[in-house]
Symmetry: C2
Subunit: 456 residues, 2 copies
């Protein structure tokens, strides 16, 4: 936290040391002074409940329990976890965990993950990622190399108390969160979660990567988090009905949200694909169609501009490569074609496929795209291919600094645009439904009463 | 070619120069001496047919036409292409192209791709990649960074003569090719291709990435190669029936074949998943089940060894992480568990999920896996996660040098094993069918007669 520039005060509690990293250490929680917002507990399982009680006495109402050895470790652990939960409920304390790497907030440098690596240089953004597993952290994911734009993360671990429904309650009004991506194995209170999901999805896109979909996966989940994952039928279809976006791979989980973080929602599903090689254009067209996008038919005005450059350029996908090779000023051709296409009222979004072959030309293209992005407010996604991953990653990060999401795979770029178009439609439908009113609110009241009851 | 160490003789032909890169240049093909195997033509479209005639007179029976401006460029180009084909057929010359980046053979340094970058350092292997598009080359794909194990590549371009059926004819008996991966848009002679595909797939795995699956994609294909791609119904299902393996993304196209290049075929579909974190184990289990794999039930002997290490280790997926954290010798635990699992007669293949967190431990794990691979001949696939892509890539290359395929995504690693299990089954069925005999041979004769006819 010190290295991430956390501005708040930190109170180390440790009976064996007077000082920790130059800060005064307190022997017990009882010795702490001043208002404290959050406690992070990493002590042996049997001590945690007592510490939570002490926290409550000191007015600390939020506790993260990183300690392992609870429900995931067998029957004795499950009993300890129930005791811990009872203590917390009785004391009016909310708990994240146990068995969690905790939370990260890149905007204020709050990080309770004990693995420090990777957090300092991740790109800050407005995406909230959460997980039921340690793989969520910057220690495990190439957040810097891949530029995932992290705002907040939460690892729920065994989630004996705080769960994804609480997380959504918080995020739906959080101005620092534009997109939500949740990995989850088990759903604790299905009705409450689906209610929160529906209301959040009406305002912000929510991606869900549900694992434990298979019976065997659900059993594996039970053995490491102590809770049983749900059977497939209440998973992806239900999420979709609630307006959320199910994804099926880690890559989609991490990369898809970017399109919503930096891009406006598309007004429709008509895509233009601008490529430098025909073969990729064909493959991209397949993916677009399979993602529910329609290949845009250019307007007469656009066709006139394009055919002025070359008769080969009037098709969508537009393969600008061959024309660029034959001209003295390839970038002017590219700029004119791309501007015409993106300004076309028949085009709702664009996939831009670049070739990161050698440094200077593609660098100039990146600047050109940055200027274009300033003038035209339509969702775009970029895929860059080429022989050097490092160079591709570097250019991708430049593009993202200019507000253009760049993807590792062509398929992810196009599918992200397809998801954006579908979500834009879903959002307006959910908005209309919500404005009609009552059922949502009734469900909310019930759910809130339940969550307040210590018996639940 | 000089830089790749091509051992054969090269004869530059150019009317304007006496010397090219220190080699004597000849003004025309007519001036060439000695037996020549292959000509690469990169002259203007209108000159190509004449040059092919001259090649034939010099006894050159194989020509690669890189020149663009044929069928992909409109009606005039299509006419030129037909003339070129007639000339070649009449002269008894076989043509690759036009509009092609040509071929690469990493084993002898033969490379006709005019973009030199990327070829020198790619990992040589036994995979034959082909494409109908320029993206096949090392100039466009991160062949070095991703370690694709390239043996031969062929870009068919407009494929007016030599096509994928000829390619399969050659590769099915080529000892340097263990796996075949083909990107294709249009199929020229469906019956002939399917016949060759069936016969090749009975001997070697053939991956097919068919683009132009959608109507719009097929139209886009027509506009850059001059040939119309087929409608979806004759695509992936037909390939599967023939024993081939359809893939749907570039990543699968490039990465899936690796499992067949270095691994034995599995004897069945029972997988063991060895992970260091529970969450990834759950996700991997879902993918395994969805890929047609069954979670292996360990034998009593294995269970005894595993429960001796920790009662938590008797499940599949095996999450070794928590046990390793609690022991003084984590690698010994890992080694014992992994050896027991892989030696188990109930296990047909294994997915190994590693965490590339910090240098020394995972480096030691890599050496340990290398020793294990020497002792146990079962197919394995590795996925390494962690915060630094560069470090992941480096360790992945080390693993691959030891004969263990390492994948960029967990899902690809598991699906590759699923494909291996399915192919092993398909292969034995196709083998039985082929040994019953006649229909295949009849089809072959017919197809060969047709391909010899200049009118076809």
């Amino acid at each position: 936290m010190l290295r991430l520039g956390f501005a708040g005060r930190i109170y180390p509690v440790n009976p064996s040391y007077d000082q920790v990293l130059g800060m005064r250490a307190y022997p017990t929680v009882d010795d702490l002074e001043g208002p404290i917002d959050l406690a992070v507990v990493i002590t042996p399982p049997s001590t945690v409940a007592t510490i939570v009680e002490r926290c409550a006495r000191k007015g600390i109402r939020a506790v993260i329990v990183s300690t392992e050895g609870f429900a995931e470790a067998g029957k004795a652990g499950a009993k300890l976890q129930q005791q811990l939960l009872n203590t917390a409920r009785h004391a009016g304390v909310r708990l994240i965990g146990p068995n969690t790497l905790g939370i990260v907030n890149t905007s204020n440098g709050l990080i309770t993950n004990p693995y420090p690596m990777g957090y300092k240089r991740i790109r800050k953004g407005n995406i909230a990622y959460s997980s039921q597993s340690g793989v969520i952290g910057a220690h495990a994911q190439p957040m810097e190399d891949r530029s995932y734009h992290v705002g907040k993360t939460c690892d729920f671990g065994n989630k004996c108390d705080v769960d994804e429904a609480d997380w959504l309650d918080y995020l739906m009004d959080d101005p620092g969160t534009r997109v939500i991506a949740m990995h989850m194995e088990a759903i604790k209170d299905g009705r409450r979660f689906m209610d929160r999901l529906r209301r959040t999805a009406a305002r912000k896109p929510v991606f869900i990567f549900k694992t434990g979909r298979s019976e065997q996966g659900a059993r594996a989940s039970a053995s490491h988090t102590g809770s049983l994952a749900q059977s497939p039928q209440i998973c992806n279809d239900a999420f979709k009905q609630a307006g959320a976006i199910p994804v099926n791979t880690w890559q989609e989980f991490w990369e898809m949200p970017k399109v919503f973080e930096s891009q406006p929602l598309p007004q429709g599903n008509r895509i233009a694909i601008v490529t430098l090689t025909g073969g990729v254009g064909v493959a991209a067209t397949d993916v677009a169609v399979e993602s529910g996008l329609a290949m845009a038919q250019f307007s007469d005005a656009t066709m006139e501009i394009l055919s002025g450059l070359s008769p080969n350029l009037t098709k969508n996908p537009i393969d600008v490569g061959p024309t660029m090779v034959l001209t003295d000023n390839p970038l002017a051709v590219y700029d004119t074609a791309l501007t015409a296409v993106l300004s076309d009222p028949n085009v709702d979004c664009a996939a831009i496929i670049l070739f990161a072959g050698s440094a200077p030309p593609v660098g100039t293209t990146v600047s050109m795209l940055a200027r274009l992005k300033q003038r035209i407010s339509k969702p775009m996604a970029v895929w860059m291919y080429g022989p050097r991953m490092h160079f591709r990653d570097k250019l991708s990060r430049q593009l993202e600094a200019f507000g253009l999401p760049a993807y590792l795979e062509m398929e992810t770029a196009i599918r992200a645009l397809g998801i954006a178009a579908r979500y834009a439609k879903v959002k307006s439908e959910l908005g209309r439904e919500a404005s009609r009113g009552s059922p949502t609110i009734t469900t909310r009241r019930k759910a809130e009463n339940r969550s307040k009851s210590p018996a639940s």
